[in-house]
Symmetry: C2
Subunit: 311 residues, 2 copies
């Protein structure tokens, strides 16, 4: 009944996870790929970007843990055993890292750091009068678990914050909008647009030319969701037009961003290599342990993905 | 009895202040320099970097308001009428701006933005695994009104925070140290040292070679207090040695920073032109109005500078 746990990720540190998982679950039989042993031993699997078909190899698999918040990659695998629940991590430390990335990149624009850093490289001293954060309305597109945390931190820093989601939601201090009908008024007031949506067939390319031109002229984009939320050609065009003033992108349709991608030649685009946040072993191990305990006790699991909805 | 208010600043917008002061004090006779009229009409003066002797011109002056938190400049004027109280602004919006500057510059280091921005300019994609904020202990030197607010915001972001002050102080979630005896243990645990002290004879050059070498090797400095807190030659030397990893400086002994200053040639020093915060007319006008009301009613004033202590 207490089987082994497979670990499959080329991005995360198996030893770090092992240490924290064993703290939370003493005696856990932890097996980092490729040292899997007998596939029939595997009861649970922690995975990030495993190749399609990998999960089919384990006949007694009862729980898949997606290392991270976005499950679009794992759901693309149409050989995934249909009855096995997929847990996504909803980790307070990961939320904090996401919010920090957004705070950093919003404040970087708000406090004119791209310009100040340029001046500094050119050895120029030129005062720029700072503005109150009350003067910079921000829109957060996607106010689920991560988005609502990000919005709350921005509110705390004095920015007027709006939030948009597919279905009605409420976040303290945030003006909320929902559905296609309320998208335009939400966009019209967003001088910085922060994208934190999951990738689903519905959100594929949702930030298209229409959306970009519904923002105030000179608006900026921050994307920590998925690259495919954005129509990349439309964004490049909107920046060249001056409709979009700048963008900070952590995620892209193709990663690593190909060296011939037009974004590299657009100075207004800040590019970071998909590092806005990570699943933090110290904190996330606790919730994985709890779900494994529930699984073995036959209790109801939490943070399980709705495969039809896509998150 | 209800005299006029002089406004003297080459850095702040008189019209913006006029609008907010008149909202708070309808009917206020507001006189921006040089349109002062009869000097005997002046009851109160809002000043930032007025030349020495200026305050002597107004025989009926009863209150000086320093536009900003630091009063070292105004106290250097030894012709200042001795009996006139000096109010310093203790403005929540100014605190927020200070904390934002520190959050921005701390997160910029913590999340490797100097390196990531360099990679981006060179069109390179190279992943850097992000760290938890729990792994980066920060020391705040000076935990008065502004410093304690800054420390609280850093605690919220998950950083382990220590604070040092001249006299014992307590800030929730912050390990506090005080006095010369406790300076070394405070420094030993500060991987980023944030300076937010007032400039007084006691703090002149307090961050000297001894202090810099008591920090962990590779520590970073952020200075939003006053330039003269730092022995600038010692800092330049410690960066060349690798003892100090980097610095972000908003204030300098001489401002604007002279074009032949050695700091310009040290790539590890981020230079911003004294803009970490400003007094915000919207919020600060309310406390100025309240002190003027108290002055006229003969009540006790608040936020009055202790000239002997220097802040």
């Amino acid at each position: 009944m207490t089987g082994a746990m497979l670990f499959y990720s080329k991005f995360d540190d198996a030893n770090d996870w092992r240490e924290h998982l064993l703290n939370a679950m003493p005696g856990l039989d932890f097996r980092p790929h490729p040292d899997v042993g007998n596939p029939a031993d595997i009861e649970s699997a922690m995975v990030w970007k495993a190749p399609p078909g990998e999960m089919r190899k384990y006949p007694n698999l009862k729980l898949i843990v997606n290392i991270g918040a976005g499950v679009d990659y794992i759901l693309k695998d149409d050989t995934l055993p249909p009855g096995v629940p997929i847990m996504r991590l909803v980790d307070p430390e990961q939320n904090r890292m996401m919010a920090q990335y957004v705070l950093l990149t919003v404040l970087r624009y708000h406090r004119n750091f791209p310009e100040l850093e340029k001046q500094r490289r050119e050895k120029r001293w030129q005062y720029i009068h700072p503005r109150e954060s009350a003067s910079l309305p921000i829109g957060v597109m996607g106010i689920g678990n991560i988005g609502s945390h990000v919005a709350t931190e921005l509110v705390r820093q004095g920015f007027p914050v709006s939030g948009w989601s597919r279905t009605p939601k409420s976040v303290e201090g945030v003006a909320t909008f929902h559905g296609r009908d309320q998208l335009k008024p939400f966009l019209a007031r967003s001088h910085i647009l922060v994208l934190i949506m999951p990738f689903t067939p519905e959100t594929d390319g949702i930030v298209n030319r229409d959306v970009l031109y519904a923002l105030p002229r000179g608006a900026k984009i921050i994307n920590i969701g998925r690259g495919a939320l954005i129509d990349e050609a439309a964004l490049a065009g909107a920046i060249r037009d001056g409709q979009i003033g700048a963008a900070t992108l952590d995620v892209f349709r193709t990663e690593p961003l190909p060296s011939d991608h037009p974004f590299w030649d657009i100075e207004e685009i800040t590019i970071t290599p998909h590092l806005a946040s990570i699943a933090v072993p110290r904190s996330a191990s606790l919730q994985i342990a709890e779900n494994l305990r529930r699984l073995r006790a036959g209790e109801k699991l939490f943070n399980i993905v709705d495969r039809a909805r896509g998150y």
